[in-house]
């Protein structure tokens, strides 16, 4: 009997390899590691949003039980440590560089946000370190704080950084203002909308942690950390902060419990434990309390915008003008400056043929936690603005909201399509994803459901968004010209072992995305090696040659492409070995999923025959070919990828309480070729959950003094199982034309497409109350006020 192996290649929902350890409690997250002689660090953080440090008295703390050391910013300054670097430089309208104030690892003379680290206590146990930290007396002179962008920009506002006028980081723009003004002058209709994109706190379930080690014999440092990109941390921390060469610094990011962007950045605590480990020649571990995460993990979003859309009499868009204020927080986090510029303003064409776009972005320092990329990073902000504007424009022109979108879609035959804001889209079919979503959500049958809900006393609404985003930020030369201080390629190594199993080394990092399975499927598909015999190694600078990590849904489009390139080198070398073994010309060798064949014959060699010959080169073309079967490739993409699609939300509001519940949610996404449909569906569902969270539940709130009011999971509303609907997920594929897999990326589409779909549905449900602008989150209090305010006005 022939046993047919299950298909495990591209397109198969292979169950995840990594799950075996996670479901048995055998995952190895940073805080799970404990070393011989390990000490524990506890960070003293500022309780004030803005204050001058007049003195730090560590004498009492130093005498506490178990305490080994107490360090302050002054101690770090003595070692000439650098500050935390920023990885992207934006230039102002006038060509001058953005303001880039120093970001000390431990605050030296001033604190600039609640949670700003001031000192560290290091002791034998975590409790002792915490007790000691509480005994460190910091003498603060409290200064007036600028908690909001409006406060920071007011004349006479507190100066957060010396030398940064008006607390303005940069004043940047894109597009031709004069041409845009002409377009507006000829418009039949101009629709404008003010929007706030609410500030979010990422809240990956694993709090950040870092473990520093120093080897006195070799002088080598090791940092184990909750990072999405260990090589980037090695580069930033080694070169900029601690001045340790790469050869003496290993960074390990083991199992990481979710990131969503918040674990991209180089954080102070990583430098603190690594430096302290060297000073004390003992391992030093720090693990955040959730309360610390709230006030020290980079936050997301936080835009205030005004958008104006010019239309002709037929509803065709003539131009788009956008003014945005983007909150940077107190310091520049690693990639913060590029989020509201090259990941936001360049997305303002969306799926539409708007011929002229002008966008001005002012980035503002405030006395709040630094803000950086959070799932979607700039594209959710652009999408929310556009897709809310679509619904308002539809209402004000009297054109059906779906029809208005269709009239302005980039035609399916117009690719490659050059937008007026720098990007060139390679592929897409926006009509197809819209049609499929409308059908799947039974858009046409909605009014009957609205009427049925009304009989139950409920307000039902439906809303859609037709979104586009950009993944796999690239190419390196282009992003370099736009201010990136890093390349954005990825690295993949394919190591075929003598007996035919394969190790894949990737510079991408998996913190929930299932790379160990998806990447193994790429190998199964191309080399014919069973998934069980493919091991994917990531997250260790000592094992993986190099890498840029995982963010912006780049792992498959960029990292996977690097693997394909490396596999192609393996196949090319394998063909030469096979030609030798079968005494044929290399030109006559064909390869298909694990088998080398002399074309047109039944003479074959399996991959394992080739790998054995490569490592035991007794019968081998040794004069012309090196032994071994391992190849590395660097892949630098030619362009971004452009996933897009349509999300439809159907909501029901209880007018008595203002509570919004999502009744149905439909996502139809074009993420390019799908490798593992199960994993893609999971990524979309998770993204949609975060998008619904943004739309209905989540808000980071500071008071006027800069105190974080939403500083715990009792105050910040995380979506729970009963807050969310079942989400219907489907894909409609057009292939990416410029990477070898045809893939686009699926990690962020859910969080990008969903918020405007939900808010458009809420506004539709409230159609009797004349709602034009509705800021997220649409909490019961907000909705109740709209309903009751409206009723009161009607009564008056």
């Amino acid at each position: 009997m022939n046993v047919v192996a299950p298909f495990e290649g591209i397109g198969a929902s292979v169950r995840r390899k990594e799950d075996f350890r996670f479901i048995q409690g055998r995952g190895a997250y940073t805080d799970d590691f404990n070393r011989q002689g390990q000490l524990h660090a506890w960070i003293v953080r500022s309780p004030h949003a803005h204050a001058r440090i007049k003195g730090v008295d560590t004498s009492a703390a130093a005498k506490m039980p178990g305490v080994v050391a107490v360090f302050t910013g002054a101690d770090m300054a003595k070692d000439n440590l650098g500050g935390l670097p920023c990885g992207w430089q934006i230039h102002n309208k006038d060509g001058s560089p953005m303001a880039e104030p120093p970001h000390p690892v431990l605050a030296v003379d001033k604190v600039r946000h609640v949670g700003d680290p001031v000192a560290v206590a290091i002791a034998a146990t975590r409790e002792q370190a915490r007790d000691a930290a509480e005994a460190i007396a910091v003498d603060y002179e409290v200064l007036p704080a600028a908690a909001t962008m409006a406060d920071a920009l007011k004349p006479g506002a507190p100066v957060i950084h010396d030398g940064v006028a008006n607390n303005l980081c940069y004043d940047w723009h894109i597009g031709d203002k004069a041409v845009l003004d002409q377009a507006f002058a000829g418009a039949a209709k101009v629709v404008s909308l003010d929007l706030v994109n609410n500030r979010l706190i990422p809240n990956a379930m694993e709090p950040r942690a870092a473990l520093g080690e120093f080897d006195r014999t070799t002088g080598d440092y090791t940092l184990t950390t909750t990072s999405q990109n260990p090589h980037v941390i090695r580069l930033l921390m080694g070169a900029n902060v601690l001045h340790i060469p790469e050869s003496k610094l290993r960074v390990v990011a083991p199992d990481v419990g979710g990131g969503f962007g918040s674990k991209i950045y180089h954080y102070a605590e990583e430098a603190i434990v690594t430096w302290s480990a060297g000073k004390l020649a003992r391992p030093v571990k720090w693990t955040a309390d959730r309360s610390e995460s709230f006030m020290s993990d980079a936050h997301g979003r936080d835009h205030v915008s005004k958008a104006e859309l010019a239309l002709d009499a037929n509803g065709k868009f003539l131009g788009l003008r956008v003014h945005t204020y983007a909150n940077m927080g107190a310091y520049l986090s690693t990639f913060a400056p590029c989020v509201p510029t090259y990941l936001y303003a360049t997305l303002l064409a969306g799926v539409y043929t708007t011929p002229v776009i002008y966008c001005e972005v002012k980035a503002v320092f405030t006395n709040t936690v630094p803000v950086d990329a959070y799932r979607g990073a700039g594209r959710p902000e652009a999408t929310f603005l556009l897709e809310r504007l679509m619904d308002v424009a539809a209402k004000e022109t009297g054109i059906d909201r779906v029809d208005l979108r269709r009239r302005n879609f980039i035609p399916t035959d117009a690719f490659p399509y050059q937008t007026p804001v720098a990007l060139q889209y390679d592929s897409g079919n926006y009509h197809a994803t819209l049609d499929q979503a409308l059908q799947s959500a039974d858009w046409a049958g909605f009014e009957a459901r609205r009427a049925e809900a009304a009989k139950r006393g409920k307000l039902r609404g439906i809303g859609c968004s037709t979104y586009l985003e950009a993944c796999g930020i690239a190419p390196s030369a282009v992003v370099g010209s736009l201010g990136a201080r890093a390349g954005l390629y990825e690295v993949g190594t394919i190591r075929v072992h003598p007996t035919g199993s394969v190790t894949v080394l990737t510079g991408s990092h998996s913190h929930g995305q299932g790379h160990e399975t998806t990447f193994a499927q790429l190998v199964a598909d191309r080399l014919g090696v069973p998934v069980a015999q493919v091991d994917v190694v990531h997250g260790d600078t000592a094992k993986v040659p190099f890498g840029m990590g995982t963010y912006g849904s780049r792992s498959l489009a960029v990292g996977g492409s690097a693997m394909v390139k490396a596999m192609d080198k393996i196949i090319a070398k394998g063909k030469r070995i096979a030609a030798h073994l079968m005494e044929a010309s290399v030109d006559d060798i064909e390869f298909d999923r694990g088998t080398f064949r002399v074309a047109g014959t039944d003479r074959t060699k399996a991959l394992v025959d080739i790998s054995v010959a490569a490592y035991v080169p007794h019968n081998y073309p040794i004069d012309e070919l090196e032994p071994g079967l391992e190849e590395t490739a660097f892949y630098d993409p030619k362009n971004f990828t452009y996933p897009g699609g349509c999300h439809i939300a159907e909501v029901e509001i209880d007018p008595e309480t203002g509570q919004v519940s999502v009744a149905n949610f439909t996502a139809v996404d074009d993420v390019g070729r799908v490798i593992n449909p199960m994993i893609v569906e999971g990524q979309v569902q998770g993204g949609v959950a975060q998008g619904i969270g943004q739309a209905l539940l989540e808000a980071c709130v500071y008071d006027a003094d800069g105190q974080l009011l939403s500083g715990s999971m009792m105050d910040y509303t995380m979506p729970r199982a009963d807050d969310l609907p079942p989400v219907s997920v489907a894909t409609h594929t057009t292939l990416c034309t410029h990477n070898p897999l045809g893939v686009k990326g699926c990690g962020e589409v859910g969080a990008i497409g969903s918020p405007p779909a939900v808010i458009n549905a809420v506004v539709d449900a409230l159609r009797d109350f004349n709602v034009r602008s509705l800021d997220m989150p649409a909490t019961p209090a907000k909705i109740w006020q709209i309903i009751n305010g409206g009723r009161r006005m009607a009564a008056e």
Partner: protein
């Protein structure tokens, strides 16, 4: 320092703890059972859920001394000694009910207790409400709900093995 004696996953341990030591700290730091996680400090996230005498409990909100004499089961103790997974573990994998895996131990332990306490079966809504005390940031919960329903069928003897997820 107080001494506690407790049975964890069938093994008896005696340990000296501080009065303030939490059960999760005892499990993670002293017994090196790092499958139980700490995701918050306000008893909201449920990553730390274990079973004490068969009941799901947040071990971050339980003092170690309160578990003196108790029988504790953690995620590490669910599979049979021969490696056979608990149906809930199997269902989580089959239904892709985990991504980063950090909430998974607590989610699985809560889910088992939820199913055991409801031999009559659970609707989807009841499962969602039963997960009130557990946060997941990755999955959106949809697949967790499906996995729990599938595991419940096996735990209550309605099926002999976990139903395959739809492709």
């Amino acid at each position: 320092m107080p001494q506690v004696t407790l049975t964890v996953n069938g093994q008896t341990h005696t340990a000296e703890v501080e009065g303030r030591t939490l059960l999760v700290e005892l499990l993670r730091e002293k017994l090196r059972l790092t499958g139980t996680h700490v995701g918050c400090d306000t008893s909201q996230c449920g990553a730390c859920v274990v079973h004490i005498n068969g009941e799901s409990v947040k071990s971050c909100t339980t003092l170690a001394v309160m578990a003196d004499g108790a029988n504790v089961t953690t995620i590490e103790g669910l599979a049979k000694p021969d490696g056979t997974l608990h149906p809930m573990q199997e269902a989580f994998r089959e239904y892709h009910a985990l991504q980063c895996g950090f909430c998974t131990p607590g989610m699985v332990m809560s889910a088992i207790d939820l199913v055991q306490k409801n031999p009559q079966g659970l609707t989807e809504q009841e499962i969602r409400e039963g997960l009130e005390g557990n946060l997941c940031r990755c999955t959106g919960y949809h697949n967790i709900v499906k996995a729990i329903a599938a595991a419940a069928d096996v735990m209550h003897g309605k099926r002999s093995e976990i139903a395959r997820a739809a492709e």
